[in-house]
């Protein structure tokens, strides 16, 4: 439970059994993947009760829609985390909309948040980007991007900032930020698609 599960075949089998309404398989799937997925939700949403709600909804979705997992399209862990990430981002957009009119300093949620911040200082997105790609081809490809492109990709991925939030954060016009993201993703894709040493592809 403490390590990122690498056994894709096993996870794919658990998903197939989950699709067949095997609750024991679903339980094992949760045990193997929930710590990673909770980390993902928490990183985006910051507050544990929001991340818990998203995690619950995500696993209920996974239980109901395990049959729609297409093994040919993505690795099981990628599919699972896409369910969580999508829900977390949707929730974040919803929350930011309602938070705009309220300045949260210290209410119940605020206090819990401060506790968490105190307990676990959040890593800088750029740092996470660098740690994540250690030894990967992706690192080489990220290296081909301009600094603002790389920075906006990291902020978007790890902190869930939207185009307009990025523009505010980076003090740049919206059009410029959109272009950074678009060109950054384009370059990344092209670089990843070039034939390269298989070992570096992870």
């Amino acid at each position: 439970m403490a390590t990122l599960p690498r056994d894709n075949e096993h996870l794919a089998r658990l998903l197939a059994r989950t699709a067949a309404r095997d609750h024991t398989a679903f339980t094992e799937l949760y045990e193997l993947t929930s710590a990673h997925l909770f980390g993902v939700a928490l990183r985006i949403l910051h507050r544990s009760e929001r991340a818990e709600e998203v995690l619950q909804d995500a696993y209920v979705n996974i239980w109901n829609q395990a049959g729609s997992y297409a093994a040919g399209l993505s690795a099981p862990m990628t599919w699972l985390s896409s369910v969580v990430r999508n829900k977390a981002l949707d929730r974040l957009r919803q929350v930011r909309l309602s938070d705009q009119s309220t300045v949260v300093l210290v209410d119940d949620e605020g206090e819990e948040f401060l506790d968490q911040v105190a307990a676990a200082p959040r890593a800088d997105p750029q740092e996470l980007l660098s740690q994540a790609t250690e030894g990967l081809r992706l690192r080489h490809c990220l290296g081909t991007l301009d600094a603002p492109q790389r920075q906006s990709l990291a902020l978007a991925y790890y902190d869930g900032l939207s185009h307009s939030e990025l523009a505010g954060h980076l003090h740049a016009p919206l059009g410029t930020v959109k272009a950074w993201i678009r060109r950054g993703l384009d370059k990344l894709k092209q670089c990843l698609e070039q034939p390269g040493p298989a070992a570096a592809r992870q």
């Binding site: 403490a2 309404r21 609750h23 679903f26 339980t27 949760y30 929930s34 710590a35 990673h36 909770f38 980390g39 993902v40 928490l42 990183r43 818990e52 995690l55 619950q56 696993y59 209920v60 239980w63 297409a70 399209l73 993505s74 690795a75 862990m77 990628t78 599919w79 985390s81 896409s82 990430r85 981002l89 949707d90 957009r93 909309l97 676990a120 890593a123 996470l128 980007l129 740690q131 994540a132 790609t133 992706l138 990709l153 978007a156 991925y157 790890y158 869930g160 900032l161 939207s162 185009h163 307009s164 990025l166 993201i181 678009r182 993703l185 384009d186 990344l188 894709k189 990843l192 992870q202």
Partner: protein
């Protein structure tokens, strides 16, 4: 429009997975993806490309209560035994069974009132259930729905034919008191249908104040695009 071949699709899919799209754009792309394998593929490819970035996010074990709530919402709940099945439990001697059956049958017949709509199984006393009666714009009842409190099936009966426009699907929605409509399933233009719920009624309908029907392009719609043509209160009976 051949959006499936457009380079714009790939850009949108990348921005979606990265997380930079606005709420509205996210929802629109997600609803297009439900019907388009090309969009699903573009999204899956971007998820796969960016997946390694998750490696550095610290794992956090969620509290035990999280799993308990998930299990509550996913554990298959056995459908409540019908009265005749309850009688077959061990411990009932044959004469007692026959005697009771006689009484129960008599009571059952006495209680088969004509207004039961033939929806949920009715024992001698109606079981706790959720019930909805949906009317059209003129207030005419068109659709009845009911589900046992702990059941996982919603029985829907058309009380009069509903004319569904060609190429459209009539979708039933649960409208929570405080939240977005939740799709329940497709309903036919006439007759009766049983819709399997993803969870027991108690979970699905606990906060649902109203039910409504709209015409959609596909049964996979996540949010109602059309206007509600039928609607009514969803009440619990116990």
């Amino acid at each position: 429009m051949d959006y499936e071949r457009s380079p714009l699709l790939d850009q949108l899919a990348g921005a979606y997975v990265l997380g930079t799209l606005s709420r509205r754009a996210r929802r629109r792309l997600a609803s297009v993806a439900e019907r388009s394998p090309a969009v699903q593929r573009a999204l899956a490819q971007w998820h796969e490309r960016l997946a390694p970035l998750e490696r550095s996010i610290p794992q956090v074990t969620p509290g035990a209560h999280v799993w308990q709530r998930i299990a509550q919402r996913t554990q298959p709940v056995p459908a409540p035994a019908a009265w005749w099945q309850r009688l077959r439990r061990p411990g009932w001697s044959a004469p007692a069974l026959a005697f009771s059956l006689g009484i129960v049958l008599t009571l059952g017949v006495l209680h088969q009132a004509p207004q039961t709509l033939g929806l949920a199984p009715i024992a001698t006393r109606s079981a706790p259930s959720y019930v909805g009666l949906l009317t059209d714009a003129s207030g005419e009842p068109v659709l009845g729905a009911s589900s046992l409190r702990r059941g996982t099936v919603l029985t829907v009966k058309l009380l009069k034919p509903l004319s569904i426009p060609a190429g459209k699907v009539a979708m039933l929605w649960a409208l929570p008191a405080d939240g977005a409509p939740v799709p329940v399933g497709a309903v036919p233009g006439s007759g009766k249908v049983e819709i399997a719920l993803g969870a027991p009624s108690d979970t699905v309908f606990a906060t649902v104040a109203r039910l409504a029907v709209s015409f959609e392009d596909s049964a996979g719609a996540a949010t109602p695009a059309g206007a509600f043509v039928l609607s009514g209160h969803c009440i619990k009976l116990w």
